[in-house]
Amino acid sequence: MRSLGLWSHEMKRAGPAALLAPPALVLLVVFLVAFGTRLGSREGNTAWFLMTILETGIPLLAGIAAASLIGRDRAVELQLTLPVGYRATLLRRLGVMVGWTALCALVVSALLVVTGWWDLLPAASHGLAGQLAWLSPMLWLTALGLLVAAALRSAAAATAIVSFVWLFEQMLAHLFQENPMLRLFHMFATTYGTAPDEWLPNRLTLLATALLLAAAAWPLLGDAERTLGGEKE
């Protein structure tokens, strides 16, 4: 009951505008699915766009949400004196934003499967493992956002790094594709292509490294004095 109440308050606290982006992405997919071909986009192109939205758009939303967690809380001083640890509150907030984004990603996936677009997606796996197409990069960028937010204590700086990494992996995808080691870490291996037998190892590597990034963030998030100090601005 208490937990439900807290989740509900966290959703209200985030505000409707902050929760708007993931459903907007769903609408964009619906629009492309419905009208893409009629607008003159070739089938292959539309399929590629749909995968781009799923594999790159969803992680960007979650990553920026994670990067914005620290540094913008107006009631941080009060929060840090409450017996429920602030770390738990931050993770709940992250859960609201990332959970909502993941839910929207699931809706997009279901829509693509039902309409048959999923079969046309380049390099996409089928079945449950196929969901790693968005889940792995989403969790990786979220963990990165969390770590840089905790380390730098500045939402502006953390979002700058997350945005940079996102853009970097998009613009220089070929660098990742050319190097067998880097291929394992490429967030957008589905969109930009990889050898079929390397796709799953890539997804699992992302999940494992996301775990490492989150583990590095954990002690930083628990340091009240650090969090209270905030960014020197």
Binding site: R72, L152, A156, A157, A160, S163, F164, L167, L175, E233
Partner: protein, 277 residues
């Protein structure tokens, strides 16, 4: 306005995260673009010994990804006053709202552009020494002032004003998507503002004012038989926004960037007036 400029400049340039984030991202760029950055030549046949071309390539490399860092670091500056509750105090000062906005805009943009400029001019100095081309420094200034500064003025206005009009988090997402879609996506791929007169990352000044020509003809440019240029892209939408490059169009692009910056700032001011009333 000068006092606001000075204050905002110092406040921003003293932020340790400004230097940390720029340092990290710049290091990644240098490591990634190892060869092209060392030689300042992108693509086969670019004459790296020509200082103008080298300085244009150097600016291009930085303009690809660093504006994202620049914009994100600016995005919390206007809303910060509201968060810290100092708007009332500032309102009580004799400086007018518009002067304060301009001072804040110029001060924070200038400070946030300092690491950018250091990276750029640092490379120019290194080039001038290693190539024995002191004229590169003059070209670096000319290229920076005519291509980078107008672009950063527009991006800065956008990044400052955006979070006033929508939640900062939503703005950050839209800003990244805008930079990717509106500046980096190849125009033939989808309708985009990239390479258009509205794009801060377009090369109108490089082609129009500095006579930049990649040695090999770009494959997707609609060209006249005897020369190639920058402008309409074959099979791309929105080509009416891509006039053929020339001196007049280069100057027009600079003007468009400045007008866009002023328009965005005016929007921010109007929004503030509406909120105040």
């Amino acid at each position: 306005m000068i006092a606001t400029f000075r204050y905002e400049f110092l406040m921003q340039i003293r932020r340790p995260v400004l230097w940390i984030v720029y340092g990290l991202t710049f290091a990644v760029i240098v490591v990634t673009f190892g060869q092209p950055y060392a030689e300042l030549s992108m693509g086969a046949g670019v004459d790296r010994h020509d200082p103008t071309t080298a300085m244009i390539v150097s600016a291009d490399l930085l303009m690809l990804l660093l504006p994202i860092v620049y914009g994100c670091l600016l995005a919390d500056r206007l809303i910060r006053d509201r968060r810290l509750g100092v708007v009332g105090v500032l309102d009580a000062t004799p400086t007018g709202h518009t002067s304060r906005l301009i001072g804040k805009y110029l001060g924070t943009c200038a400070a946030t552009a300092v690491p950018f400029a250091l990276a750029y001019f640092g490379r120019a100095v290194a080039y001038a020494i290693t190539e024995g081309e002191p004229s590169a420094l003059g070209w670096a200034v000319a290229v920076f002032v005519t291509t980078t500064v107008p672009a950063l003025l527009f991006v800065g206005a956008l990044a400052l004003a955006g979070p006033l009009l929508m939640p900062p988090m939503l703005f950050q997402v839209l800003f990244v998507v805008y930079w990717f879609w509106g500046n980096l996506i190849p125009p033939r791929m989808m309708p985009t503002l990239a390479d258009s007169i509205l794009s801060p990352n377009s090369r109108y000044v490089a082609y129009g004012l500095f006579g930049y020509r990649p040695a090999q003809q770009p494959p997707d440019v609609l060209v006249a038989p005897d020369y190639y240029t920058y402008g309409p892209v074959s099979e791309a939408a929105l080509n009416f926004l891509r006039p053929e490059a020339g001196v007049a169009v280069a100057l027009l692009w600079i003007g468009v960037m400045l007008v866009l910056a002023v328009s965005v700032l005016s929007l921010a001011r109007l929004h503030a007036i509406r909120t105040e009333s």
